[in-house]
Symmetry: C2
Subunit: 320 residues, 2 copies
């Protein structure tokens, strides 16, 4: 094991992502000491029990004292307040990042709250599960996943050094690092993450409220496809409320496109235009193959959840 | 192993479901001899190689000769033609079922095509993967999954006996059997299966066509949620085209409700109504818990696709 990338880090907010950062940093030896601040008394008690932090406190300013890297891992609309609370304790020259799913709004909130001596580099690991809280974290979460950093528009050498070091940190945790403009990040993630969550929440809500079909039936026969959507619709409500409110413009833009396409599909069904349906359904298959080839998805049928099915999708013969 | 439920079965159309029926029937000892008819020469050659059928032919009438149970497992709009082709060979008093995802239209097509001496009991196993073809099948596919049978409106004793025997067959394959009115089936499945597929196909299409975000970016950052949708959007295009065209009314009805709910959600985002979002996002979590409790879904985070995360969702502490 090489020398730690950071002698001390502070993690502010210790849910699924915060605790996974700590597990991964410890497992990789990327960090020396770890301090945690969390606003929830229950979470703090649990973190102490789990024993993965050197210090646990309710006060962000106390947690960040002497930290070389501060990672804000609270819901995106709580970032500003957490940063303001941490500011008085911040070590001059510390690197500050976050793990929020929206980058432009969070970057502004951090910049407004923190002293100029900090190197603020907003970030977003594209990884997660539907679970929440300090128990949900695990060291392998970031393995082979992308972390997008959206650095500020400054080209001084100390900032470039801080950026390099933060990239090294994420690489040590197993991630691939990509730099991106924050607005572009917010559009890309509106497509690959925010819209999927919105659609999943919506369809689960629709199914739950439908007259004529009971909730019991919806659950019982969910293996026909519905159950897939319930996974991301089980994600943390606070986190996702904040995402939609903080990335409103990009989400509404891609939602508009989705709705337009859905109307066309609805019309094709109504008028019995089988060719149009077939054409779309054939194209979408290719996208999954690309994702599997890119190492971002399991090739096993049903995500491997059955642990029973054959593993090679390329052996499929033609459907009769 | 007890005596086979049927001495001989014929499976017409040997894709994922047809081949899984054969594997499961053989593994459970529910069947003696198995004949297969498939219209695809490539599929037939592969079935012979795989060696799971006693007889393989292109001609449904030949396959069904002497069969006590005939299982039609072709796309739903091909059922009528397959049944017409099989009719001349059909044994008097044979039981006929199918595995199609739509029941009213298929029930009518089978009844119109087959001799009156057959006991027609349309059926639908709520099980599958995103894969297709005779290589995709496996014996455990129906374990602990529901099979819905939609018997005809007749109450004679021979029909009741045939129904009991078909139920025993599916039970032997590991399934739970439920009887249902065919129209109700088509509405329930429109919610739990057809709408989810339509939405998944649509979002993958939208993402693929969006200007401003490349397909490479969509694939690269798909672990944010999008990748989940690509699984069912990789399902067989012919099968799904037929489902939407054959269950048009129910699909358009639930799609109308979905769209209405989505407009309300869109409006809540536009006007910053965080409470409405939070309320929905909290409710949807419960539905997944119900599905897991009903044994229809893996409790592991990320469907267990990572094979790394902790398995107990009840240990989640509160999000900070």
């Amino acid at each position: 094991m090489t020398a730690p990338v950071y002698a001390k880090i502070a993690v502010i907010g210790c849910g699924l992502i915060g605790s996974s950062v700590i597990h991964a940093a410890r497992a990789s030896g990327a960090v020396g000491e770890v301090a945690v601040a969390d606003a929830s008394e229950a979470a703090r008690a649990r973190i102490v029990e789990l024993g993965f932090a050197d210090r646990v406190t309710a006060d962000p300013a106390e947690a960040v004292r002497d930290a070389d890297l501060v990672v804000f891992a609270v819901p995106v609309m709580a970032m500003g307040e957490a940063a303001r609370a941490a500011a008085p304790g911040m070590k001059p020259g510390a690197t500050v990042t976050d793990v929020g799913s929206v980058k432009a709004a969070v970057g502004e909130a951090l910049a407004a709250a923190l002293p100029e001596s900090c190197f603020i580099i907003p970030g977003h690991p594209i990884a997660g599960t539907e679970q929440s809280g300090p128990d949900a974290g695990f060291a392998e979460l970031f393995q082979n996943r992308w972390v997008i950093l959206t650095p500020q528009a400054r080209d001084d050498e100390p900032y470039a050094d801080a950026l390099q070091r933060l990239s090294d940190f994420w690489s040590a945790l197993g991630s691939n690092v990509e730099l991106m403009d924050d607005r572009h990040h917010d559009l890309v993630l509106a497509v690959t993450s925010h819209l999927p969550h919105l659609i999943a929440y919506n369809i689960v809500g629709t199914a739950a409220d439908l007259e004529g079909v009971t909730r019991g039936e919806v659950m019982k026969y969910s293996a026909g496809g519905f159950r897939d959507f319930t996974r991301i619709a089980a994600s943390d409500p606070t986190m996702w409320r904040d995402v939609f409110l903080s990335n409103k413009d990009a989400v509404l833009e891609v939602l508009g496109r989705f709705t337009e396409d859905l109307q066309a599909l609805s019309r094709a069904i109504r008028w019995g235009e089988g060719d149009k349906l077939f054409e779309l359904f054939s194209r979408t298959r290719e996208i999954r193959r690309g994702i599997i080839a890119a190492g971002q998805e399991s090739a096993e049928p049903n995500f491997g959840r059955d642990h029973r099915a054959p593993a090679d999708p390329d052996t499929n013969a033609q459907q009769s």
